[in-house]
Amino acid sequence: MEPIVVAKNLTKSYTKGLRALDNVSLTVDQGKVLVVMGPSGSGKSTLIRTFNGLETFDKGELNILGITVDSTHDERKIQKIRRRVGMVFQQFNLFPHLSILENITLAPVQVQKRRQIEAEEHGMYLLSQMGIDSHARKYPNQLSGGEQQRVAIARALALKPELLLFDEPTSALDPERINEVLDAMRKLAEQGMTMVVVTHEISFAKDVSDRVLFLDSGKVIETSPPDIFFSNARHERSRKFLNQLDKN
């Protein structure tokens, strides 16, 4: 079976020779959940954002859903990828001038040219999956952070993506709101959604992920199954990071 994400030697450097990504290679198979961990500034967000073309890279090759992009950053290919890949952001990034349902139906109607009624039906279904269908006519600022993030997940699902990217989806939430979002993500994983998740939530990584990738200064330090990573990480650097995370 074709893997969903194949990254080969991705490298992105800033001027002054700083490297955001340093020879990063990884694969994600269909239906698997990859959790990306690492200290801040380690390039986690940069990495995940290259997957749908929000970031460019200088060297290497990326294959998403069978579409290969290289450092030339071909707009057309990236558009094709974006139609099949959903993304959830740290700050939700809902459109404040649109109602919840309009937020969700915008892309299906405009990008996939689906009929408004059909998109709304599907949107309501997704909202009920997320447990927030009663808010469909409200506007983003009337919802709590956790609810907004679940709307953002529903919006990402509306294009029926084959891969979901999560960029620290719970970092901007109140502690008691984190679980409602994580539960929604768990449900998606159970349904077989392929996901790449940047997060610091150890419990989520332990329960849901198939592999944990640890990144530091743009380099892949190790990629291990969660039970090994959290109990007996191979590298000194990962253990140090996990200790730090435990203390907090």
Binding site: L54, V85, F89, F95, P96, H97, L106, A107, R155
Partner: protein
Amino acid sequence: MLKINTDSIIISFKNLRKILFSNLFNSIITLLIIVLISVSCVNTFEWLIFKADWKVVISNLPLYAFGSFPPNEQWRPATWIISLLSLSIFTLCGPEWRWLRKNLLIIWVGTIPLGLYLLYGGIGLSPIMSRHWGGLTLTILLTVCSSFLSLPFGIVLALCRQSSLPLIQKVSSMYIDGMRAIPLIAVLFFGQLLIPLFLPVGLEIDRVWRAILAFTLFVSAYIAEDIRGGLQSIPNTQIEAANSLGLNQYQIIQFVLIPQALRIALPALTNQSIGLFQNTSLMAILGLVELLGVGRSILANPEFIGQYIEVYVWLACVYWMVCTIMAVLARHLEQRMTINQANF
């Protein structure tokens, strides 16, 4: 209930006395100002009621409203103005019918072709040339048409100024900065006197449309800057979110950027349109008989010579009334939007 009221009045009265009559100097100043205010009030009312001769206003009311529009066709501009007025009232305190509220904007835009049809005539109505248009009708027409045309033009200019293509960006910056460096009266002169010289023989633009064109060229530069401010205050993450959903550049502009930028720029845009309404009075100098022009031509009539104050007080009232209606409408629109508006 009543007791609390009288108590609070007594307290505030005591406070007033403490502030205004705390010592001899303050007391004298206070008394002086009271005398000044009352004298001027008395004089104003005396003038308004006894001295002023309002015949110059009352006998010329149709002239102020319609200019030299043929008397037996004056129901046409009257219909237009009344429909605008009733639409304003409806917008402000009409019922909350969802389908109607949704289409209110379209109805408002629809008043422009309606007005033009009623004024020009044509199908079913006797045609009337634009040189017969005048008065408040012409003032409103100039304002409405120029605002309506300069909004899309301003949006395009603002987008071009944000463009990543250097040529487009430079040209629109030059246009905006250039327009803002020229006084409006110069642009209007250009429109009235120079455009006819530049145009090939046989092609002629109506004087009213030349004025509208000049206003549009001028105001759109300012509108572009207001909208640029709106565009710049939209966080970049909005564009990223739209990108991640596969929307293309034009869809992002249409569905994400412009609606948000317009909401943010709305108070500034209101300012522009009220300013535009007042600036149409400059056309009186350039020979259009709009509201101020009508006033001037009435004052030139030997019968009413010297009655400047009556005419200008009356004109000020009319301008004030229309501006207030515009401001109230705009505030209403703002409030309706902030109900749904997020905090950025």
